[in-house]
């Protein structure tokens, strides 16, 4: 790694000042993806600004529910904490399951919620220090004519990366919002945090320079709300998903009142399958309904030459998560 300074700010304002002091100053939370990029030469900061030494912003470390039942999850909460959060009920099962499915036990104890949402893509062309792909200022996405077995089937072009955040799929399904500290504090629905390649292929999130993601909030659950998460990987332990699905459904008096179906690792941004949601809302849960919703989930998919396998894989995951969340027995 290129030599760098380690700045340990005591307050969030000091952290913001240090990050804005120079473009080569980078904020560090758990640092897992950051150190990886620095070892590969993809990131060459002159200073790392430690978020973990900030002591005047308790919200950064909070994992708490307010009186109305809304959750506040600090940016420094680790994946291990989320995976072990026994206080999460059936409504937040998707988040607990997603956090427990990512990476390894030891990485989960370092990796943070904020870092997971803001990590860079895993595309092997992007991660290769010698290759200049579209994301690094090149003329085109090298995945189109390359080995794109892990790339996007939905929302692709002009870059076909898949968004790497597993927590994002669950949080998108849970209608989470993100809070940002900056020149002015602001909050966004999580879907608006992400930038698709048609808007700007060189970045994946909308944070302005010097802005710090401080926490994620999740609205209070409705009665009868349940969620679930499933992923398929080449290796079921410790691997990146080929596809992943988080669903969040509210059933009232036998009818589905609300539904969110979020897909991960199939599109450059965490992807809402709105056609699947529309198929579910107002209906009574049944195996036939779930089958229709699963088929609708990949509507509009445009696979590349070698990744069409992700279409049936994603449909199968939508089916499995919906059967679990809606408590409909799977057909034999």
């Amino acid at each position: 790694m290129k030599p760098f300074s380690l700045i340990r700010p005591a307050s969030l304002d000091e952290a913001r000042a240090a990050v804005t002091a120079a473009p080569e100053h980078v904020l560090r939370a758990g640092g897992v993806d950051l150190i990886d990029q620095m070892k590969e030469g993809l990131a060459r900061p002159s200073a790392l600004v430690e978020l973990r030494t900030v002591s005047d912003a308790p919200a950064l470390r909070e994992l708490a529910r307010d009186g109305d039942g809304a959750w506040s999850l600090g940016a420094l909460v680790t994946l291990a904490q989320l995976a072990a959060a026994s206080e999460f009920g059936a409504e937040l099962a998707a988040l607990r399951e997603a956090a427990g499915s990512a990476a390894t036990p030891s990485i989960r104890s370092m990796a943070t919620l904020g870092g997971n949402l803001l990590q860079r893509p895993r595309c092997w062309y992007y991660r290769h220090a010698e290759l200049v792909c579209l994301k690094k200022g090149g003329s085109h996405c090298l995945a189109i004519n390359g080995d794109h077995r892990y790339h996007a089937i939905l929302g692709g072009g002009p870059s076909w990366i898949v968004h790497p955040s597993t927590l994002a799929s669950a949080l998108l399904a849970l209608d989470a919002r993100v809070e940002l500290a900056g020149a002015e504090a602001r909050a966004l629905p999580i879907a608006e945090l992400f930038v698709g390649p048609k808007e700007d292929a060189t970045r994946e999130h909308r944070l302005a320079p010097g802005e710090i993601l401080t926490r994620v909030t999740i609205p209070a659950a409705a009665p009868g709300q349940r969620s679930a998460y499933e992923a398929v990987k080449e290796k079921q332990s410790h691997d990146w998903p080929l596809a992943e699905v988080a669903v969040n459904v509210t059933v009232e008096s036998g009818t589905i009142k609300a539904a969110r179906v979020a897909l991960g690792h199939v599109a450059p941004i965490p992807w809402r399958a709105e056609a699947a949601e529309a198929a579910l809302v107002g209906q009574q849960p049944s195996a036939a309904l779930i089958e229709r919703a699963a088929a609708a989930a990949t509507e509009g998919a445009k696979p590349l030459k070698r990744n069409a396998y992700k279409i049936p894989l994603t449909r199968g995951l939508v089916r499995a998560t919906l059967h679990r969340a809606l408590e409909v027995a799977s057909p034999a």
Partner: protein
């Protein structure tokens, strides 16, 4: 740290290859044990580096004082400056688990940890697991030998760290096979000795296998 007696492969290579470098790299060695480590907590408001900066922590029960730049990983600091070569460097990207150590009892990939992250904390490497046990081996280490839980042995230091932490969490009670498999899910063994590792952990916990 333990001193090896006689000629070892590593000692021989080190003697041949690095004799001329020694003068230029006066590595501060761990001081002799003299009670608990003086462990200053990390002070906010301080900037370290980019050159070498003083670092103190506890390594296998001994206070360590050294000086490394912020860019030094804990793994490289252990192996290259502190002579604690039991911890292995394989992928260097947090994927294989060969570099795992305990930081305040928690398994951590030392390759993705900066040395300065452990300022004032307690680090245990595989060299420290046998301390205080008969024959210098913990029951888990003996079980690894008895159950043939290693072939080439390169993943073994990391496996032992993960499994030691697991047994600490269960209070020594035998974990289920699922719990053991989950605990070692970040430790790659290309020889494929996983079933023997599971058997060794159960056996060390007195649960048979």
């Amino acid at each position: 740290m333990s001193k090896r007696s006689g000629i070892t492969r590593r000692g021989l290579f080190r003697g041949i290859g690095t004799a001329t470098l020694v003068a230029g790299c006066a590595t501060p060695k761990a001081p002799p044990p003299e009670g608990p480590a003086q462990t200053p907590p990390v002070t906010p408001g301080v900037t370290l580096g980019p050159g070498p900066a003083p670092l103190q922590f506890e390594l296998n029960g001994q206070a360590v004082t050294t000086e490394v730049p912020p860019s030094a990983t804990l793994l490289d600091t252990l192996r290259l400056r502190l002579d604690a070569t039991g911890t292995k460097k394989v992928c260097d990207r947090g994927s294989c688990g060969a570099c795992m150590v305990l930081v305040d009892g928690q398994p951590q990939n030392s390759c993705m940890t900066l040395a300065h992250d452990v300022a004032g904390r307690k680090v245990t490497t595989v060299e420290g697991l046998g301390a205080g046990h008969d024959g210098g081996q913990s029951p888990l280490q003996r079980a690894f030998v008895e159950r043939d839980a290693l072939q080439c042995g390169f993943c073994t230091p990391g496996m032992l760290i993960s499994c030691t932490a697991l047994l600490a969490r269960t209070g020594g009670a035998a974990p289920s096979a699922d719990a053991i498999q989950d605990a070692i899910s970040g430790n790659l063994c290309r020889c494929g000795t996983y079933p023997h590792v599971v058997a060794a952990v159960k056996s060390a916990a007195g649960g048979g296998a």
